[in-house]
Amino acid sequence: MSNVDLTVEICGMSGDGTIAAGGFLNAAVAKAGFSVMAFDSYPAEIRGFGRCVTRCRIGDEEMLALSDKTHVLISLDDEQSQSRLSGLAESATVIFDNKPPSMVPEGASLAAHVEAGTNLVGIPFRDLAAQAAGSTRGRNIVALGGFAALFEMPPEYFHEVITKKFQAKGASILEGNLRCFDAGYNYSKEKYADRIADTLSSENGNGNPDRILQSGNIAIGEGAIDAGVRLYFGYPITPATPIMEYLAKALPEKGGKLLQMEDEISSIGAVLGSFYAGTRAMTATSGPGFALMTELITHGVMAEIPAVIINTQRGGPATGLPTKTEQSDLQAAVWGGPGDSARIVLAAANVPECYTYTIKCFQLAEKYQTPVIVLTDFFLNNRVETMAPISISEEEKADWNIYPDKEDQNNFHRYRITESGISPRPKPGMEGYSYTATGLEHSEKGGPDYTPENHMAMNSKRHRKIEGALNDMPVPEEYFVEDNLDLGVISWGSTFGAALEAVQKARSNGIKVGALKIASIYPFHADLIRSFMEKCGNILIPELNYEGQLAGLIGHLYDKDVIKLNQTTGVPIYPVEIYQKINEIMSR
């Protein structure tokens, strides 16, 4: 087991600098050589007043999921933080501003609500900030200083990240913020000398500061850039917008272009157009935007034009819960749209996969001439985690377009029926390969053809092609697999980390349980999944949706009913919740 496992939560009102403080904390802790997984939760309104919470789990081993229990709560707003106290671990530390601007009646202070035994640490955030920098604005930085001293975290890591953030804003702002940090640090160190723990001391860091701190959003953006994407078409939508924001800066630097379209329909249309013309392009959206895209996605299926769509899932249906996380677009991604429109769907389970799958899907789209959808979710996109830098070989980003041979010239059948279902696809302007691309059912040459024989043959061709893509798609990953497992946990997307941690914990308590991660959502590796299922006395599929969408897709592969754990709380599932379910199943 790991030695360090500390979950820090910062809670405030919007305007308190909560999320910014979380950013500094994550970066500094990563620099100190710890593993980090962190996730912010914004107010429900996109802008305005409301609670902001950022949670950061710090460990000396790779982090798989967030923890349900908070060990340190830093309150930048007592009223907002009160509801967070219920999530505290035993003997947690609560850091709060003990010098609010005015006297408050009984119960209005956070101190009134903490359990006895809590390490309640009062630091005058506002006063120290005012003292150090002349204004209370730096109170979030003061709080971080106080936190760092309490856990013996060397201040230089914070100094480094604060400097990086503020140096462009001029010496006085930078120095003011550094002074704020030091003020909190020194105050804590002096006043709470008897409460200092060495949890985050340099001895406890795992000495791997080369790792980078990355969010799912940025990983997707970087993946697109590294895959050679130079065109992005999109329409802003929470939680996909940060990808667009990132590329809006990154693309022009590479000579690329980003165009904000009038809506998602035109976005996917432009992506299809680009690929049609032989150029990689991408769009990213979330549920409501994805729904608008479905007709044109099936157009890509029918006309066999590649496209890459990132669907960052949020709470639905409809406008739903824009700032909450959910895994409820699986069916829409796999089945959404008119007709028998099979397409490739991948799901990333962690930040490194956000990067690698983004790259991978361009090759799949090109080779199999189909829209490819990568499913991520609010939690995965917005969380940050430490990861080893990934270097991508030329081969992994190589052009997988299949161009027609010389002999096809002058007798070119764009949709020739082949055994694999793949028919070569020219770029427009390649001499001698002109053809009609259409959303109408078509003959091998591309002209409209509604004859029964043709439609059946073409449906078969298109589905053979997609089935064949499985050979190039990530296979299910097995964990702790042995014969006669009591239970197998099958999971996908961002829930998988929590599932694996729960399985590890169950195994350490003697339960024979294994795990299977499914990244290829459609097509999926039915044989491999079935063979895993056969080794298990029971199958549990935890998902953040109500209907059990993965279970619905693969449940029939098992000869019993699979057990579902469905949660639509809007927040990530915690390992303990899956662990409890495992125990419940085992005690049946």
Binding site: F96, N98, K99, P100, S102, M103, V104, P105, E106, G107, A108, S109, A111, A112, V114, A116, G117, T118, N119, L120, V121, G122, D194, R195
Partner: protein, 338 residues
Amino acid sequence: MAEKHFIVIGNGPAGKEAAFTLRERDPESRITVISKGRASSYTPHLLPDLVAGKIQEEDLYGCSLNSYAENDIKLRCCQEVVDLNLLKNEVVLEHKEVLSFDGLIIAVGGTPRIPENLLAYKDLMYTLKTLEDAKIWVKKLQQSESVLIIGGDLTSLVLTKALIHLNKKVSFILNEDAFWPLRYDDDLFKEAAQRLTDKGIKVLYDRNIKKIEQLQDGTNKVQVDDQVLQVGMVGAFFGLVPDIGFLAHSGLRIDRGILVDKHLNVGVENIYAAGDCAQIYHPDIKDYWISIGYENARMLGRTAALNLNCGCREEEVKPESIFEVQGININTTWWTEF
């Protein structure tokens, strides 16, 4: 009508006893205990035993945090009272939260006293009041063979027993101030000095400390009048100053402690003081007195709670128990037990 709210300031032996007594007598009222400490109440009189290595830290704790919840006593840890408003019956906490009360028991403890003329050497002198202090003694004693005790209060005597148990060389500078409220006459001094000397302790009487300095090797050079002593550690034992600075503007009668009548009332209805902070006149010694010792503190806490609860209960502090502290009789034959 809202239920009554009783506040107890301090969670030492007196405060804890007061809170549980209040609950015992009044199942309905709201009771809040405000404690500077983080942990549950522990038994400070056993600290010298901890220094001596006779007991472990766990042995100090007598009561779990759960017992407060079980008795519906709200325990506010790590919180400090900074002001008392008698006009509104309110206490103000350090974090600016204002709590109103119907009854109040002040049972704060004390901080080891360093006389003003020795303040310059504060960092070189060790005291023993808290668990943290005890841990420092344990650590420092590993490198120190000899200890000079300045002052000579009750704690220092119990500690001296522990030091002798650890085979440390102990010397004493007896200082008149340390024995407040007992006046230190020649007879008392002679007897005390004799008994200490019998134990192999070198005793100097009421000398002026001119200077204390730490040498390269970590030992201390102490200039006493015209004499120089070299010792491993210096302990300062001049009794306790009650932590009642927060009452400075309250209007309560403050001398060395909070002046209380024989019912432990501070002179304001429904406000009582108990334990290390309550100063009470005692006819037998013709002087004011601040009780010391664990059992006394508990008894005072209980008395204060009973009086607050019943208003006028005649529960005086019994002289015999005042003079009996952890098996040591405090009177002119105090030293016989040592």
